[in-house]
Amino acid sequence: MKMDEISMSSLDNSKLEGVAQDILSDLVEDACLGLCFEVHRAVKQGYFFLEDTDQETMRDFEIVDQPGVDVFGQVYNQWKNKECVCPNCSRSIAASRFAPHLEKCLGMGRNSSRIANRRIVTGNNTNNKSESDQEDNDDVNDNDWSYGAEKKESKLTQEIQII
């Protein structure tokens, strides 16, 4: 190796070493800033001094291990046997059946329109008041719908006859 080649490579090396040191410096600074942000957030959110809570207060927050109760000590099947009054039909419905009932009662939800359509068709032919799912309100609606449907149907049959 020639003299100038050696000095050239050592120059490069010292440059590269400088770059390496700078990269390290950046990384360390990054780590410091990261810590600062973490600490600051912990302070502002109120959990920075959490581990310094005194022993007595800590006992209040221990995990609860009793039957019928969740880890926070709350009763979790409290609403199993409660009943709610439907704001639409004023009937008393079991809590666990309340959401589906309300869906059908208000005519919202996926199947309500299907059921309503089905009733239009069957309510027309047989006009049966004994519905399988006991929603008395719908019978009133049925009459309106079936009247309209009746009219339509006769019109349709008339047309067919003409043709």
């Binding site: 590269l16 070493e17 770059v19 990269i23 360390v28 810590l35 600062c36 600490v39 600051h40």
Partner: protein, 95 residues
């Protein structure tokens, strides 16, 4: 001079693009946690917070107090290990 800064820019770009910067960050973080650097600085943070008051302490306060101390407290062994990896990366990708 600009050739230098160009080289540096290229190296930094490569470092990021190849995911090496992220890996180095993670390595540094875990090493610093292992050796207790984080806990040391956190304790120092507590002092700063108690001094400035919990409600009033700002990010700036922490950065000013913590960063210089943080730089100094990095153990030599950790510095050495990081530098080794950086040099290896440079040897492979800088020339």
């Amino acid at each position: 001079m600009s050739k230098d800064s160009k080289m540096r820019a290229t190296i930094n770009q490569k470092l990021t693009e190849m995911g090496e910067r992220e890996r180095l960050k993670e390595l540094l973080r875990s090493k610093l946690t292992e050796c207790g650097w984080r806990d040391q600085l956190k304790a120092h943070c507590k002092d700063v917070i108690k001094e400035k008051g919990l409600e009033h302490v700002t990010v700036e306060d922490l950065v000013v107090e913590i960063t210089p101390k943080g730089r100094v407290l990095v153990p030599d062994s950790v510095k050495k290990e990081l530098l080794q990896r950086i040099r290896a990366f440079l040897a492979q990708h800088a020339t």
